[in-house]
């Protein structure tokens, strides 16, 4: 009896903590939705109102119609899915090589890969632009203002390689040895043993890549000219200007632009948690 009460109390403490934690994640979302439903002067009232006095749904159609969002959505989904597919293939194969092959310079190459993660975007953005401009094919400006400029440079992703390699390295030696002794070829080993055992890590790679692509702003803006191929973040930037931000419209646009991410996350949640606890990368 006594123990049960103690347990219950501890449960309460744990739950109280979890609720506080959960609130800190939920409140920004609530705030975003709440703000998107406020109109005019209520946006800036102090103290701010927790519940919009009157629900103004007008921000949604206005935001949706001010910027070509349907097109931006389609572009972002197309680009993100292409990149995710590419990243899974390239990072799967290279992580496989880094984890299971022994070749000269392996550590050097891997460290070289990792070091590129430290190079900030502004450093390479101009030289990458110049390279794409001079690539054959495409229109008047080479690959600039083409989907290829949005997709191809991102088909390899170092963090994904790192994540998968760490995961592959955690495989027990016995498993690898058994496969070799049984005469399993590297390709078969990859497809029959490694990949099926890495679903969680692969899901994480997919989701991270998807979110990164979804959120990318400066690169797509610099390498595109046409509204017809621009992604969703460019649409959001439209409402945040130097001379003033359209908070209501911006929040409405933010709500529908993150909706797909939330849906993706709900579906992949279990896998992500599994892979993060597995790789020791606790978030």
């Amino acid at each position: 009896m006594h123990e049960a009460v103690l347990g219950l109390r501890r449960n309460w403490a744990v739950h109280a903590l979890l609720i506080v934690g959960a609130l800190s994640f939920v409140i920004p979302f609530y705030w975003m939705i709440g703000t998107s439903l406020k109109g005019g002067a209520e946006l800036f009232e102090t103290p701010p109102t927790w519940f919009p006095r009157s629900l103004e749904f007008g921000n949604y159609p206005e935001a949706w119609n001010t910027v070509p969002f349907p097109r931006y959505f389609a572009n972002t989904i197309f680009v993100a899915v292409s990149i995710v597919l590419g990243v899974v293939v390239t990072s799967g194969l290279s992580a496989f090589a880094f984890a299971f092959f022994r070749f000269r310079g392996r550590e050097g190459i891997f460290n070289g890969f990792l070091s590129t993660m430290m190079v900030p975007e502004p450093v390479y953005i101009i030289s990458s632009y110049v390279l794409l401009y001079h690539l054959p094919g495409g229109g008047r400006d080479g690959w600039i203002d083409d989907y290829s400029a949005l997709i191809v440079p991102w088909l390899a992703h170092v963090f994904s390689i790192f994540l998968l390699r760490q995961h592959f390295l955690s495989f027990p030696r016995d498993l690898v040895d058994a496969a070799v002794i049984d005469g399993c070829s590297p390709v078969r080993f990859l497809f029959v043993i490694v990949l099926p055992l890495s679903k969680a890590a692969l899901t994480t790679v997919c989701l991270f890549t998807f979110i990164n692509t979804w959120n990318s702003f400066l690169w797509p803006l610099v390498v595109t000219n046409s509204d017809t191929i621009r992604p969703i973040q460019v649409g959001l930037a439209y409402f945040a200007q130097e001379q003033g931000t359209e908070h209501g419209l911006m929040m409405a646009a933010a709500v529908f632009s993150i909706a797909p991410l939330l849906v993706a996350y709900f579906f992949a949640q279990k896998q992500i948690i599994a892979s993060l606890t597995h790789t020791g990368l606790k978030g």
Binding site: L43, R102, V130, H134, L135, F217, Q243
Partner: protein
Amino acid sequence: MIMNGRSKRVRGAALGCAALTFASCGGDRSAPDASEPIRLWHSMAGRLSQPLDELVEAYGQAHPERAIESVSMPSYEALSQKIMAAVAAGGPPDVAQCYEAWTANLIENESLAPMDPLFAGPNGLSAESRADIHAIFLEGATQNGTVWSFPFNKSVRALYYNKDLYRRVGLDPERPPRTWEEYRAFAKRLTVDGDGDGKPETFGVASQITVTMFENLIVQNGGSLLTEDETRVAFDSPEGIEALEFMADLLVNDGSAILSQGYEYQNEFLAGKVGMIEGSSVSLVFMDGKYEFELGLAALPAGVRDTQLVAGTDVVIFRTTPERERVAWDFVKWFTDTEQTARWSALTGYLPVRKSAMTHPVLVDKLESKPGLGEVYGQLERALPQPKAPGWYAGRTILEREAIEPVLRGRMQPAEALRAAATKANRELAGGL
């Protein structure tokens, strides 16, 4: 580990791929011919993009044979990156918005078409037409005796105030502060702690931590940001130190100001919690419909001198082909003609490029509907151009981060902060490309 034997083949394949990529890199692309649309790269978004798009469309209707392709980059940072990248790649746009300090770099690498030959050409500017353009704009666009850019979206700073709060503390709502000393005194009166809990409910002023206010205070105090030949900074002068001391008193020591990192200060003002803010003439269109008090609009308070620096960007025309440059100029000329510049100004709050626009019915109506706006626009007559030294873009950031911010955060004293920032900014001016 296992599986060694294949490494060579893998390596070979990788090298092959790399070689293929580089071998297929073509040479320079040939310049676009005259049939390609003229490209205009700009940073107008939100409430500013629609007026621009409308005007671009009107130009297209008037000149069906000359298409203009307007590319919006809703961030000046992205626009600057894109211009630099496109110039480096050899494929610049035809026309782009440009800050003075970017122009200097572009002149240096010979990417720009000078304006003077276009002014003098068959579709040029008559002496009369040229005299109609505010002299300060052309002065700002001139470097080493040559005009390199053309005024496009120029703005001035303005004083916005809450007339309801003025009435509540017994200030005359039709009598905004005319000097900074008055501004400071009004700010103290507008700071009211009604319930006596030590925390005011309304504040006199709100401001962003920004170098802009300092820039105007120093020129009003008789100082300047750079020396006359623009080779060194001059902001650590006694006038500059005095200006920053005043700013610290006003925004920190008096306890009558709300300071924000970004543009949140505008929200505090719109919420009716703050008596006065200093903002751009363009801020007005962003405030529309977001406040529930009587808004007052006036010229910026004066110091020893009644002046300020003109803000905003010019457009430049890039070197392409003579034919394309002519069409690009035709668009710029059309856009800044009396009719268009009056419409543009009425819709955005940017200043009209031409004096004659002030009597255009569209602008006359606008100025009548917004009391105080005429006074704000009138400040242009007394304004000064921005510095043009290429190193100043970086130097200005140093001034903001290493002097203005630490002083307003109470970490440094004005004199030492300005001196330290001056040393660093001088290095930018000396080595700035």
